[in-house]
Symmetry: C2
Subunit: 402 residues, 2 copies
């Protein structure tokens, strides 16, 4: 036990030191708050599931993306890969859950994928789903909630791209995948891909044209009417994009993807209706519609647009200890400040020089410092120092400084 | 893919449906809030660590308690077993972290132990630690914070049992383990155990007496003086217990354990000073003191003492949809209520009978329902129904009902 252990984080995994963790918590709380405003309640499921549960949806060929292993009881288990499979399991396992079941779930998931910029093996998923309601009001509510969420985070040019999977009926999946890329790679490249996948040039062009010109389905018309009633503007807040496909096969109806025009590095989340997936567990159809917020992408976008609070610590003030004989006064003042809802640190060593204590406050980005020297103590005062401006003022001991 | 998947949770793992998740979140938020009041910032580390990191502290014989496996890249990895090892790794890996480093960490840990009542294989750990400060003010702050935490949760008879590991210098660990049990099993059984472990009867009795009569160490005296200065009462809020040992070998100084006299089923958390552990990673001494809140135990205790809010849903009101033609009015009202910070659900199907909608509110324990029928709509009113009392009243459409 005396050999030194090399400290390292696994590739694709991240430590979140306080400055990052504070930002992430800020975002999580904002989202939770708005989810609850719409009547969504929290759900939590275990990190480990039976491998059969995980493989049931993705199939055996997916086991390379899963963290699977045998536990000490020889059970084949695996780490949560998404939050949709656990949700489906929950719906099936607890049959008496009141439906529609509206839940949010914010937990990490694990994927044994190749790492690349912005791709991690452990990342936070942030999902909202409505299970057990086939009415379009559920789809509308999800989109309304998504738009309100981004607005509450400070995003200004959020737009929901919307399509109906019914637009792709009788079209081969491999062609759909190419057509989906239209906004990214342009028409010429889509045609090239379609040709590579076996279509003749004319056929490729006519297939693309056919899809580009698809009229809105009945469901889209109704959804758009609800969105307009709520004050959203077509083509600004939401837009019909008949080539939008979204990768996952399990969508059955409306699908949506969110972008912000101030952030070009990719979509900030996506979702849609999947009325057949939960049936894998329940053995009977169970309509569902949901949305997954791309947490890391949103953090990145919010950071690049300066929407995140620039907080390095939650601490508002450091109470210094001038000398051992004055330490107990400092402790009392700290208690008073905390009682008045001010996040307060006390310097934890009575023998440190004041200079060292001020340096500590600076390093930790604590905005204010309180000093109680012998003079201040005698006059029942405390000195409040603004660490940014250097400004100092004397205030009464029993007053809340801000 | 057409075979039904059997839905089941692994033994020792738990789903938290909304009613439980809401309670847990309430507790987590209370604790975070008070941790931040004392200047502790959040830290998060990955679920997976290198196996060598995990085994470095616990030794090879611990691998039966760990979830270890090989990842796709043939790395030996394992699930987080506690939050102290990751903390030690962090301190070593990011040498420029400002010290004292005060962090809280609230994440699940995984232990492949035998399950029994109140023991799980996945459970939430909730730790506060101060790293890099050897002054007793750090120990004092931890205890002060612990007492304030339990008070803020509504516990009334919280008591911190305190001892100094220096009281056990030169005494064999196996004897200490028996003496530690004194409050639980009584003097007679302790003596029996000591005899079984090889002491003669006289020696056993005199060893126990010797420890029971140990005078307070200098550190304990100083700590008690600080606690008294802060208004805590000896033997009520805190007490010297010279037989307290706490299992873990790595403690080096003061140790503490929290009980509440209204709850007899066990301690609610424990901690102490461990000045040598982090050195396993850093290769140099790094003083540290911390405390782990027993999250599940606290939930259980708080539940038995009726300290948890009796909330089954976060939703405050359900806005019903009287008929398809009135649906859009309901959606507008819901938006208005949400803007005014009321957690509001809309019934998501315009064709459901009102009766069904009220039943849904009842099942979900939503306390209020709003109804806008043709009459109300015409007069710009809405009907507010208290689902508990049955009381109904008409209010203006543009007013916040509570």
């Amino acid at each position: 036990m005396s050999t030194k252990i090399t400290p390292q984080t696994l590739k694709g995994f991240r430590d979140f030191l306080p400055d990052q963790a504070i930002k992430r918590n800020w975002l999580i709380n904002k989202l939770k708050n708005i989810f609850e405003k719409y009547g969504f309640d929290p759900l939590e499921t275990p990190a480990l599931e039976y491998a059969s549960t995980l493989l049931g949806k993705y199939g055996q060929e997916a086991d390379k993306l899963l963290y699977l292993f045998e536990d000490h009881g020889k059970r084949k288990v695996g780490l949560r890969y998404d939050q949709t499979v656990p949700l489906a399991r929950i719906i099936s396992q607890y049959q008496n859950i009141t439906k529609p079941f509206k839940r949010y779930q914010i937990q990490p998931v694990w994927r044994a994928e190749n790492t690349q910029k912005g791709r991690y093996r452990e990342f936070l998923q942030c999902d909202i789903d409505i299970v057990g309601e086939k009415s379009l009001y559920a789809d509308f509510e999800i989109i309304d909630l998504v738009l309100k969420s981004f607005k509450s985070l400070g995003f200004k040019k959020t737009k929901v791209l919307i399509n109906d999977r019914k637009n792709f009926q009788n079209i081969n999946n491999k062609f759909i995948n190419s057509i989906d890329k239209l906004p990214k790679i342009g028409e010429k490249k889509v045609i090239e891909e379609l040709i590579k996948k076996g279509l003749e040039k004319d056929k490729a062009q006519s297939l693309l044209n056919e899809i580009k010109n698809k009229k809105k389905t009945f469901d889209i018309e109704k959804l758009f009417s609800l969105l307009k009633n709520q004050g959203y503007q077509e083509n600004i807040d939401f837009i019909y994009l008949p080539t939008l496909a979204r990768g996952l096969d399990y969508y059955t109806g409306l699908i949506f993807e969110v972008i912000d025009e101030d952030y070009q590095a990719g979509s900030l989340g996506g979702g849609g209706r999947y009325d057949n997936l939960i049936g894998l567990f329940t053995g009977q159809d169970m309509p569902a519609v949901g949305f997954a917020f791309g947490f890391d992408r949103i953090i990145e976008a919010a950071e690049s647009l300066n929407l995140l609070p620039n907080i390095k610590t939650n601490t508002q003030v450091l109470v210094t200890i001038f000398s051992p004989d004055l330490a107990k006064i400092s402790l009392k003042i700290a208690e008073f400040l905390r009682k008045n809802n001010i996040n307060t640190e006390v310097y934890l060593n009575e023998e440190a020089k004041l200079d060292k204590q001020l340096k500590y406050a600076n390093k930790k980005n604590i905005p204010y410092v309180i000093i109680i020297g012998p003079e201040e103590a005698e006059k029942n005062l405390m000195k409040l120092k603004n660490m940014k401006t250097g400004e100092q003022k004397l205030i009464k001991k029993g007053t809340v400084p801000f």
